[in-house]
Subunit: 277 residues, 2 copies
């Protein structure tokens, strides 16, 4: 599938496009909005096909390409792949196909982890597909081959976050099962390699400890977005209120309900779009 | 989308087709295989689009119609909708479109619950979409309008079962959170309204109690399949070994791994097919 060139690519007043497999990428949207409060944003959650984290490489690439094509068609000046699984598996393919800059969360997250670690032992927690791709490990080792990377798939954390069991004994027990051996100095830096995990940071900190440096890939990519917009002279200069728009591929009302949990505020209207059908 | 008529519809030696959103329907396959050991079976798991239980009605109908069209195209003599969510939402549409008999799990499960209850208080546990559809409740009340139905969505049980945490403290804690008020005589019959739940029966029984009658919709539909085949003279009479064949829409090796957990034995080859792309 080709992605048509975007005539708005050079227009600083155009929105930044963000896509994710579902609602989790709102933690990335929130980070970008904090860092760049004057930017307009559009967000696509592929809720008809979430989760990506248990799917095959070929399927994740296909879904991500369709997501990016939609986001680019909305006249965005830059695309952020908020989904760690899509970033881990499809980043190169998306950069090749899109006519606007595409930033994914893996490299900024890995870079921040390399900067933060002192003892050169870094943990990465993510979905099955992200861990299986080895993308964080490769990106970290490319920057510093002496770092020991401890990777851990935590598949139950996503459904727990979506169920809203943010500060719940069950979620603590699950975190303990997955992460207890990462405490006590085994690592000094932990990459939260899934967009859902920042909202579980309290529970994760409870198991892994306060002295560990936590890397939120959403915050890391927000910093990168700011740098790219500045270097390309693409910052939004309009004085009008920036806009935000939400699209999903299924179940808009469920999205709106869970979105509030992730953003800490209600979202406006959520529009349903069809992809890949 | 039309579903082409099936020239094998009247051939008793043709296989029974079973479809599900993923691996959970294997509990239905197992029940059918136990009840009808001489029947050949084909199984489709729509692993590229699982889970159905959190999706909208329109999307579940579309996915189920595509699944049924594939299963029918494999020259099956009868189709079993193993997925409770698809059964709850798309059964009528599938019956209308298919040229072979289509049996879904809701009605047989509801009927067995109505037969089993003595105090006329029946619980139903299922996915969000199945509960929201009210399908079990309607089917139970249609048979006996005096029954009190207590419905409960248990979204975390599916990912826990798929993670293989079958007999795990976390799963017990989740079951307690969802189900503790269903014990102590509140109900005397509980419908396990999701194909994943039979493998969690030990944990569920631990919370709801031994004296409750548990309805496995897979076993209920297996009984119905036997009746329909007999009444239509469609039983397989060949003396050769019956065959089984597995198809998935994504991640065949992950399916094979989890399938073993559900069937208690390895599955043979798993073939990847594309649907709806």
């Amino acid at each position: 599938m080709g992605i048509d060139p975007n005539p708005f690519a050079g227009d600083g007043d155009a929105p930044i496009g963000i896509f994710d497999s579902g609602v989790g990428g709102l933690t990335v949207l929130r980070a970008i909005q904090r860092r760049l409060p004057n930017e307009s944003l559009i967000y696509l959650g592929d809720t008809a096909r979430i989760p990506y984290g248990t799917r095959s490489i070929a399927t994740v690439v296909r879904y991500a390409v369709e997501d990016a094509a939609f986001v680019q068609s909305q006249n965005t000046k830059l695309i952020v792949v908020a989904c760690n699984t899509a970033s881990a598996i499809a980043a190169d393919e998306l950069e090749r196909r899109c006519s606007v800059p595409v930033l994914s969360v893996i490299r900024p997250g890995a870079r921040n982890a390399v900067r933060a670690t002192r003892n050169r032992r870094v943990g990465v927690i993510a979905t099955e597909a992200t861990i299986a791709s080895g993308a964080y490990e490769k990106a970290i080792l490319a920057a510093d081959s002496e770092i020991e990377v401890v990777s851990r798939a935590c598949p139950l954390l996503v459904p727990l976050a979506e169920e809203g069991w943010i500060d719940h004994a069950v979620t603590r027990a699950v975190a303990l099962e997955y992460l207890s051996d990462l405490g006590s100095g085994r690592i000094d830096t932990l990459v939260l390699g899934c967009t859902h995990y920042p909202i579980l940071r309290g529970v994760i900190t409870g198991v892994v400890g306060d002295s560990v440096h936590y890397v939120d890939s959403g915050e890391a990519v927000a910093e990168e977005v700011a740098l790219v917009l500045k270097s390309r002279n693409l910052e939004r200069r309009a004085r009008s209120e920036p806009t935000e728009k939400f699209y999903v591929t299924d179940a808009a009302s469920r999205f709106a309900r869970i979105a509030e949990l992730f953003l800490g505020r209600p979202v406006g209207s959520v529009e349903l779009v069809g992809l890949g059908a």
